[in-house]
Structure formats: C-alpha cells, structure tokens
C-alpha cells in the first residue's frame, strides 16, 4: 500500500510548507518542489513497469518501435512540462508557466510530425 506513504508524505510536507510560508515563502516553494519530485520518483518505477508491458505488447504486435518511442517521448515531455508549469504557477509566475506549456506543445508537435507524415503516406497509398 504505497498510497498510505504517499498521502502521509504529502500531508506532512503540506503542513510544513504552510508553517514556513508565512515568513519564508521561497523556502516553502523549494519544499513543494522537493516533495513533488520525491512523490514523482516513488511512482516512476510503476510507470516503468507499465511501459515495459506496453513495449512487450508493441513488439508482439510487430509494431514499428519508432512510433512507440515517439509516443513515450511525448508522454515524458507532457509529464515534465506539467510538473514545471504547476510549480511555476504555485509560485505565482503564471506567465512563465504558460511559456513552459507553450514550449511543451511545440516540442510535442515537432515529435508528432513524422507520425502525421506516415499517416498521410499510408492514406496516399490507399487512394489510387
């Protein structure tokens, strides 16, 4: 039951952050960053096993591994960008958070272009 550890850690960190936010808001922000990273790392192992299963399924279905790699890259970009944007938004920097999200969208678009090209090519193959 990892969820008990995660909820306990989150509540303890939230109480500590509220305690210190009053006179040291920057320390509270760093505390919330550290808490977020530790929580994320706790869950990352589980994500890894799910990804291994996905990889196994893809190789069993004779899928092109390039596409799966692109999708995993997109998922990783989305997770990390969301993490950073939420931290910036918590610290009151909504503009920076919006820029982070914009950059993530652009990077995802760049990664998705080869897949779109492949879809278009297979469409062109279908149309005589």
């Amino acid at each position: 039951m990892e969820i008990m550890q995660i909820v306990g850690l989150g509540i303890v960190a939230a109480v500590l952050a509220v305690t210190i936010r009053h006179n040291k808001p920057e320390m509270a922000m760093l505390l919330s960053i550290a808490t977020g990273i530790i929580l994320f790392m706790l869950v990352l192992g589980k994500i890894g096993s799910v990804i291994d299963v996905l990889r196994d399924l893809a190789s069993r279905a004779n899928l092109n591994m390039v596409y799966l790699g692109t999708i995993l890259k997109i998922v990783a970009i989305a997770y990390i960008a969301d993490f950073g944007a939420q931290i910036c938004r918590d610290a009151g920097e909504g503009a920076v958070a919006s820029k982070i999200e914009f950059a993530a969208k652009v990077l995802i678009l760049v990664l998705a272009v080869p897949i779109m090209i492949a879809v278009l090519q297979s469409l062109l193959k279908l149309v005589p």
Partner: protein
Amino acid sequence: MGYDINLIFKIIGIGILVGVAHYVLKNSGKEDYAVIATLGGLGIVLIWVVQLLGGFFDQVRSVFKLF
C-alpha cells in the same frame, strides 16, 4: 521508501533557522547580514533541490528510455 524523505526535513530546518536568524539580525540592526543569511540559506537549499531535480530527470530519461 527508497528516497530521502530527510531532504524535506532538512529544507524545513534550514527555512526555520534562516527565519530566526533573519529576525534576530534584523532586530539587532544588521539588516545587510539578515539579507546575506537569507540568501545563503536559499542557495544551500537550491543546490539540494537542483541536484534532486537532476537525478529526477535522469530517472525519467532511463524509465522512458529517451536518447
């Protein structure tokens, strides 16, 4: 839990310590030292957090098998 929960308590400890030091130094009329104490504490904690963040990015990279 494999990861250092102690980091959270270290951060909060430095935060409280720096807060008290800031208060004491400010009340004894040494405002510039108070600012330096705040900046020093912030730098120490920032180094820890940046190291943690680097490890986190490495781990994400290895889990998602990027690059």
